[in-house]
Amino acid sequence: ISRNTMPGTSLEGIHPTYIYKVVLLGSTSVGKSSLAYRYVKNDFKESLPTVGCSFFTQTLNLEAATIKFEIWDTAGQEKYHSVCHLYYRGAHAALLVYDITNKETLNRAKLWLRDLEKEFLPDEIVIGLVGNKTDLAAEREVATEEGKEFARTKGLLFMETSAKSNHQVNDIFMAIAQELLQREREKTSIPSPHGWSTVNLGESGVRTRCC
């Protein structure tokens, strides 16, 4: 992850900038684009089915660091599955989105998880499970506990959201950010041979992209 570090505002890199790639995965019409749109534009609109992948950015100024999220919003239809791995390659975080009013979409999210587990080691990626559309509580098919329990057994972050009524959308991205920073700290606290405990600024700005 440290290769995504950019020069900080001070010489010591006390306030570094990190670029993190977050990919939104899940069944068709669960609200992936709406979550991205709510988070980035703080608004809600009916969106066209995503084709290929839509790209958004959002910058978070936190005390410890500045985080630039690159959000990759993918198409949900299974037919597109074959091109999707092109988009999640190299991701730092993934949000697996399901629709709480449609049980089948949680099963699909579990399949996505299996795909990710094939591609990434557990410490390579932060994964959040997101039950969207809490505004449609009357039509709920998936109990909160069920999502929460599944997330717990798999070690995923978990939150229920509503892109429409703006419920916990910021929170899930914030949780992802905090977890990524935490991992960054754990990494850098391991002393390097020179006794340095900061990220390697020599590699700053270098980025690799695979898709």
Partner: protein, 281 residues
């Protein structure tokens, strides 16, 4: 289109095709809730209310027609089936046929259900066959793993590297991949990139070109990308570049812009016509 060149045979062909379409509807449409077709139907049913423009999707009569057209097509083309994006492809034909019965200005707020039932049926059948004809030429765009699209994006990349090396290098330098923006250009034939009136103008030319929707479309895409060379070269950042390329400012485009684009595409086509291997490395 799909009509014979001989004018005398057109009327009878049109009649026969319309009859044929409604025979398909009769034969297949009831199976939409069968176990092996319900996924297809459900997906179409979810997508139709999400189509543009709004004026069409809000009319139950229209969504009903679109659902039938798409379902019948998907059932009759099992190799690809229904793929998101195909739903967009009906709209230009439908709007053109509807416009025969109304003034162009009216199309923004026109109630389709006010047309006589027979007229609507003809529009439905004609839209189906036009869309089918279009898709016949690009079916490998929508089969498993979408090889047609992958191949065309690759070809676009090679073409652009020949015609504007500076733009090509700039994208490459900032690690922007063509697939990240041009996938949609191929999948939806630029429909998502320009306003509907421009799509109709563009496709009018595609229809009169041999292999318009597959081959000529590539030259149009290349011209379209290079059209933004100034803006592209000014962006020095991956994120800004990709956001720009996914949201090109064409809202105010009309016939004039499309004519310029097509002229440039023709120029490219002829420049490469004698040397088809030019865009292959």
């Amino acid at each position: 289109g799909y009509l014979p060149a001989n004018m005398d045979r057109r009327e009878s062909t049109l009649k026969r095709k319309r009859k044929e379409y409604f025979a398909f509807v009769e034969q297949y449409y009831d199976s939409r809730n069968d176990e092996n077709h319900q996924d297809t139907y459900r997906q179409i049913h979810i997508d139709i209310p999400r189509m543009s423009p709004e004026v069409l999707r809000l009319q139950p009569k229209v969504t009903e027609i679109f659902e039938r057209i798409l379902f019948i097509w998907a059932i009759r083309h099992p190799a690809s089936g229904y793929v998101q994006g195909i739903n967009d492809l009906v709209t230009p034909f439908f709007v053109v046929f509807v416009c025969e019965y109304i003034e162009e200005e009216e199309v923004e707020n026109f109630d389709v259900s006010s047309l006589p039932e027979e007229v609507l049926q003809n529009i439905e059948a004609d839209s189906y066959w036009c869309m089918s004809k279009l898709l016949d030429g690009i079916q490998d765009n929508y089969t498993f793993a979408q090889p047609g699209i992958q191949k065309k994006v690759k070809m676009l990349e090679e073409l652009v590297s020949r015609i504007d090396e500076q733009v090509h290098r700039h994208l490459d330098q900032h690690e922007v991949k063509y697939l990240q923006f041009a996938f949609r250009w191929m999948n939806n034939l630029l429909m998502r990139e320009v306003p509907l009136r421009c799509t109709i103008r563009l496709w009018d030319t595609y229809q009169s070109e041999p292999e318009g929707f597959s081959h000529f479309h590539l030259y149009v895409c290349a011209a379209f990308l290079v059209r933004w060379r100034k803006e592209i070269l000014e962006e020095k950042d991956f994120q800004e570049l990709l956001i720009f390329l996914q949201n090109l400012p064409t809202v105010h485009w009309g016939n004039e812009e499309i004519s310029v684009l097509l002229a440039e595409a023709y120029r490219l086509k002829f420049a490469f016509a004698d040397a088809p291997n030019h865009y292959k490395k």
